[in-house]
């Protein structure tokens, strides 16, 4: 028993080092990104020279600030809609066997497989023909559609790990389907839903191809601005706004995680 414990300890030690290395890998570019927002050189030259000039510049860059605001709003609305609609569909797939189910599931692949560019151009043309036009509303339509497959797949993976036993038990105790859905299924799905909403948020917040084609003149979102900035000159201002964004979302996310007990204490 002692040797087993010892082995476990060593294993845990390795595990923690490994996890640390993974986190290190994940954060290298992000730390570099943040560091460079405080670097004087416009061409990202080393050695590092501390400066806050890019933040000063940013404060007067209305375009970038408005675009950031639009991005956050769009991502939030997208997250709510996509998570609700996607969870409903994932639940149906997990709990019901019906004709056409496989086809419906297969239909989730085109939105993630086909390069976004093609979907974006096709949307632009269809929205033009049907009079939907361009703008934030068109972007919302597109973002939700792109987020849905992620939500359905992630919530579905969570549901696949649980059988329908809990709901059957609830039904046998006389719960109506709606009651059993809200009281039993939703709590089971919740970690999956939270994870899915993270995906949905990220898909929208990061989405530039679709947004690029659907943005109306004068109304744009952050990734579109960043994409354009690559052409004009990728100044550390872009790093500055990204740094602010990640700090803000980190705080929002931490509060959100505290409330929802995401990460789980099972």
């Amino acid at each position: 028993m002692n040797t087993h414990r010892l082995l476990c300890r060593i294993g845990d030690g390795f595990g923690k080092v490994f996890l640390f290395l993974v986190l290190f890998f994940l954060y290298v570019p992000i730390v570099v990104l943040a560091l460079m927002s405080f670097n004087e050189s416009m061409h990202y030259q080393l050695p590092f020279e501390f400066s806050t000039r890019w933040y000063v510049d940013l404060a007067s860059n209305e375009r970038l600030l408005t675009a950031s605001f639009n991005s956050v709003m769009l991502a939030l609305v997208n997250t709510v809609i996509a998570t609700i609609l996607g969870t409903m569909a994932a639940f149906a797939f997990a709990r019901y066997r019906f004709r056409g189910r496989t086809i419906l599931q297969l239909l989730l692949f085109p939105p993630i497989t086909i390069p976004w560019l093609i979907i974006g151009v096709s949307m632009l043309v269809l929205f033009f023909w049907t009079g939907v036009g361009r703008g934030l509303h068109a972007m919302l339509l597109g973002h939700v559609a792109l987020s849905l497959p992620y939500v359905i797949i992630v919530v579905g993976a969570r549901l696949a790990s649980f059988g329908p036993e809990l709901e059957e038990a609830a039904a046998s105790l006389g719960a109506t389907p709606l009651q059993s859905f809200l009281r039993v299924s939703v709590p089971v799905m919740l970690p999956g839903m939270v994870a899915a909403s993270l995906f949905a948020f990220a898909v929208s917040f990061d989405q530039f191809v679709i947004s690029y084609f659907l943005a109306a003149p004068g109304i744009s979102v952050l990734p579109v601005e960043i994409f354009s900035a690559i052409r004009k000159g990728f100044t550390p201002e872009v790093n500055a706004i990204s740094t602010i964004m990640i700090v803000v979302s980190m705080s929002v996310f931490l509060i959100f995680a505290r409330i929802s007990k995401f990460g789980g204490e099972r």
Binding site: R134, A215, I230, R231, G233
Partner: protein, 351 residues
């Protein structure tokens, strides 16, 4: 659940209303980002003079510009179009006729550029000549003795030190010039294919934008690279980079940009005034002296530049620019063929 619903509705309403900005008193411009029209001082001056507000939208490729015009009628007033595309845009009904009378600076424009046949469609004027420039070869002055031939790109001395723009028409044109062909209508495509494939040991990387070029150059990625004349002078002037610019004896690619008025432009008066301001010497001189610009189509503007300026001394010299070939409109089939040749070459480079 109900709270979430309310929040969603509120946010949705916000998102939807934000989509409808007013068009009154606005001039909507479609251009490459950072290409003269969106300089803060220029917008300020124009707004002060006319009371119109300037709003920009950008494109990253000519096809995108066309797609945006096609799918958003009535969304734009002024659009920048390379003269090789003006005819196509006019044919598709994307841009409208321009009356030269309303452009007060029209008379000062260099006749050779102003009256270029590319700006007309069925004999009518659809674009106002604005700027022109060269795509040629830039080099690191501290490392390279440039000579005067395009063969420098194939020179083994610079193996692994050459940069190219990832652009099919441009690279096919360079290969056409190097093999002694008409870049606007090359006949021996196999020779071009071979010439491009021979670049494999030479090429270090592709660049996509001026900014990327500057970053690659500062990171010492290449010694010799294709580049744009206006950008080369900007790199040298604004960023103090040791960039030299060479016009080979085989010729270089010349391009001409014009400003056009979109069909159904909501603010026709604003569009005309904006174009007039853009081709004026006051805008150009400040643009070139403070920021760095391609050559102006306005002779008056060039004459107001300091004498040693690249755009006056080199680009203004008729002899140096005598054997330039301007990019001509290409057919869809030609573009597709050029792209195929270039893609095949890239696949070979990646092997």
């Amino acid at each position: 659940m109900r709270k979430i619903g309310l929040l969603t509705t509120a946010a949705l309403a916000l998102v939807l209303t934000a989509g409808q900005a007013s068009a009154d008193g606005e001039v909507r411009v479609l251009n490459w980002q950072g290409y003269g029209t969106d300089e803060a001082w220029a917008i300020e001056a124009f707004e002060a003079a006319t009371g119109y507000e300037v709003v920009h939208d950008y494109f990253n490729s000519e096809q995108e510009m066309l797609t945006k015009l096609r799918t958003s009628p009535g969304a734009y007033d002024v659009v920048l179009i390379n003269s090789a595309f003006t005819g196509q845009a006019a044919e598709e009904g994307l841009i409208q006729l321009i009356d030269p009378q309303v452009i007060s600076n029209f008379g000062d424009l260099s006749p050779g550029l102003r009256d270029a046949v590319e700006f007309t469609y069925e004999g009518d004027l659809y674009g106002v000549a604005w700027t022109w420039g060269l795509t040629s070869i830039a080099y690191d002055m501290t490392e390279v003795e440039p000579g005067n031939t395009i063969e420098i790109l194939w020179d083994p001395q610079y193996a692994g030190r050459v940069g190219l723009r990832d652009d099919s028409v441009e690279n096919v044109s360079f290969a056409a010039l190097a093999t002694g062909q008409d870049m606007n209508n090359p006949h021996d495509l196999d020779a071009i294919r071979e010439k491009l494939r021979a670049l494999k040991p030479q090429i270090r990387t592709y660049w996509a934008s001026e900014d990327e070029w500057n970053k690659e150059f500062t990171a010492d990625s290449f010694d010799v690279s294709t580049y744009w004349s206006g950008s080369a002078s900007r790199s040298a002037k604004a960023f103090d980079m040791p960039v030299g610019f060479m016009i080979p004896k085989e010729g270089a690619i010349a391009w001409l940009d014009g400003l056009s008025v979109a069909t159904d432009a909501p603010n026709l008066d604003g569009a005309q005034k904006f174009i007039d301001y853009m081709v004026s010497p006051e805008h150009y001189v400040r643009w070139d002296t403070e920021v760095g610009a391609p050559a102006s189509a306005n002779n008056e503007a060039i004459n107001q530049l300091p004498e040693d300026f690249f755009n006056r001394a080199v680009m203004g010299d008729p002899e140096a620019t005598a054997n330039l070939q301007f990019m001509a409109p290409l057919t869809d089939e030609q573009r597709e063929t050029f792209l195929e040749i270039w893609t095949e070459t890239k696949a070979y480079f990646a092997e």
